[in-house]
């Protein structure tokens, strides 16, 4: 139902798995993300960046350094038709 223009070359979300584990950030990312971008598989946090709604909540809740998050490149990502 949402429209996304996915940037196939570049993910705008990168998780530092080590820091994520040591700071307990993984479960926090999974809990706060309204888009369900983050999930846990084995000991790693998986990132489905194409589904990102670009709110920035994950970055606000993450421990410093555990997550690199910026807006997708111009023209990519979510394109709200209602807003």
């Amino acid at each position: 139902m949402n429209r996304f223009d996915t940037d196939d070359e570049e993910s705008h979300i990168v998780v530092d798995q080590e820091l994520c584990r040591s700071t307990g950030t993984g479960p926090i990312l999974i809990a706060v993300c309204p888009a369900g971008v983050f999930s846990q598989r084995d000991d790693e946090i998986q990132v489905e960046y194409a589904a990102c709604l670009e709110c920035g909540t994950c970055l606000a809740a993450a421990a410093r350094g555990a997550l690199t998050w910026h807006y997708p490149r111009g023209g990519f990502g979510i394109a709200f038709r209602e807003g």
Binding site: M1, G74, I78, A79, F80, G83
Partner: protein, 439 residues
């Protein structure tokens, strides 16, 4: 200190074509300055999302009869505040046709509204540059070793200007990137999750009890968020509803729930079912909300830089309404006037741009923010999201129920409901007094 005029691509670069940026760009261009309005979405509004209600007085001052021209959804003539428990709802319903004119609250959908306001800036002569993400501010060492902002960088491109207006939204990457603003703690932030639900105009008007062109805004607290600090909103658009929850991040994290789970609980809540029956979600979005109020304002002026709208933390949550767009517009006006003045005097340092903050102090933006200084602290009181709603529901259950046993006096019902709530009088009086002071 100013950069040499010969090197400039524009007098002013405005980053972000939301209400704050578009307003600033319009006003700057109207004063004869060369302005570029850079927007990362392919079209203004495609990255933007709001709870729906724009308080229009400030916009009316800029564009008389804007509600007759701009693509607004409905004029809000009904405000309903509801305490929700799992199986009951206690509401306060304020309806007045007088709210339609002069214009007060109007619902907007940003993918329709923002292109209109960016278009106003273009009509005034601003150059709109969509589909471009600004990566960072361009700086050089300024007086006292502080960074002097001299432009922006977007991929390999550099654009230079006397002043940059950072209207880049709540994440405020540009101001954070030069150390002007810091990261906010979770208790100052909330996550908003919203769905737009398609519904015919006639059905909206029937279900919400409003006239054509007019609408309702429902603010709901209690079981809609499973008692998590925050609330839900349900607003009428022209041919859709905006349904959402706003959850304070610290409360969400300590609840052990996920934002998705809470939103789904809300959207399926029996208390909201009469409004939402037989309709289809057409879009789902989210937005981070700054809720720290006046305490979160911090630095909003740098050398060659002003920060406006949500990027400056300009949001007010008084428990029943979350306001952002009108404050954004007000800050865009104040920033533009200060930038015109600074460029005119040739001093675009933070001293030359200090007129931005003093204008904000003088207009409604910081006055309102100051009025609600105590609101964030008040809203941290957990009983607001559970105990009081249950108390009200229990009281009205007693009043409304006739089951063959002798009915009891209201005073007795109130005392019984109070005892059942297991709240202490001291807490309730404390909350009440704090509420009076904060709101």
């Amino acid at each position: 200190m100013t950069t040499g005029a010969g090197e400039l691509d524009f007098d002013v670069i405005v980053v972000g074509a939301g209400p704050a940026g578009a307003t600033a760009a319009h006003r700057l261009a109207s004063r004869g300055l060369s302005v570029v309005l850079i927007e990362r979405g392919e079209v203004p509004g495609t990255k933007n999302l709001s709870g729906g209600v724009l308080y229009g007085a400030v916009l009316e001052g800029l564009f008389p009869d804007f509600a007759g021209q701009a693509p607004i959804e409905r004029r809000i003539t009904r405000h309903v505040t509801t305490f929700l428990t799992p199986d009951s709802a206690v509401s306060l319903d304020y309806a007045s046709r007088g709210l339609a004119a002069p214009v007060n609250g109007v619902t907007v959908l940003r993918a329709r509204f923002d292109p209109w306001s960016a278009g106003k800036a273009e009509e005034a002569g601003a150059f709109l540059m969509p589909g471009v993400r600004v990566d960072a501010l361009l700086t050089e060492p300024g007086p006292g070793g502080r960074p002097q902002v001299i432009g922006v960088r977007a991929r390999d491109e550099v654009l230079r200007a006397s002043v940059v207006v950072a209207a880049d939204g709540v994440n405020s990457f540009l101001a954070q990137g030069i150390g002007l603003r810091g990261k906010q703690p979770p208790r100052h932030l909330a996550v908003g999750v919203k769905a737009v639900v398609r519904m015919s105009a006639e059905r909206i008007e029937d279900r919400f009890g409003v006239a054509p062109g007019e609408g309702a805004a429902h603010a709901i607290v209690g079981d809609c968020t499973l008692g998590i600090a925050g609330g839900a909103f349900l607003c009428t658009d022209r041919e859709s509803l905006s349904l959402g929850v706003v959850l304070r991040l610290d409360a969400l994290l300590s609840s052990g729930r996920s934002a998705i789970e809470v939103f789904e609980h809300c959207s399926q809540h029996p208390g909201l079912a009469p409004y939402l029956r037989d309709c289809e979600i057409v879009e789902y979005g989210s937005h981070l909300v700054a809720e720290g109020g006046h305490g979160m304002l911090g630095e909003i002026v740098g050398d060659g830089l002003v920060v406006v709208g949500e990027a400056a933390g300009l949001t007010i949550n008084n428990g029943l309404t979350v306001r952002g767009m009108d404050l954004a517009i007000g800050s865009g006006v104040a920033a533009a006037d200060a930038v015109v003045e600074a460029i005119g005097t040739g001093d675009v340092s933070s001293v030359g741009l200090a007129g931005y903050r003093s204008r904000l102090e003088d207009n409604f933006v910081l006055k309102d923010l100051r009025t609600y200084t105590g609101a964030p602290g008040f809203l941290e009181r957990e009983r607001l999201y559970g105990a009081y709603g249950e108390l009200a529901a229990e009281l009205f259950r007693g009043v409304s129920r006739f089951d063959g046993t002798p009915h009891r006096h209201l005073r007795v019902l109130a005392r019984t409901a109070w005892k059942g709530s297991r709240m202490r009088l001291r807490d309730a009086l404390g909350d009440g007094w704090a509420g009076v002071r904060a709101l």
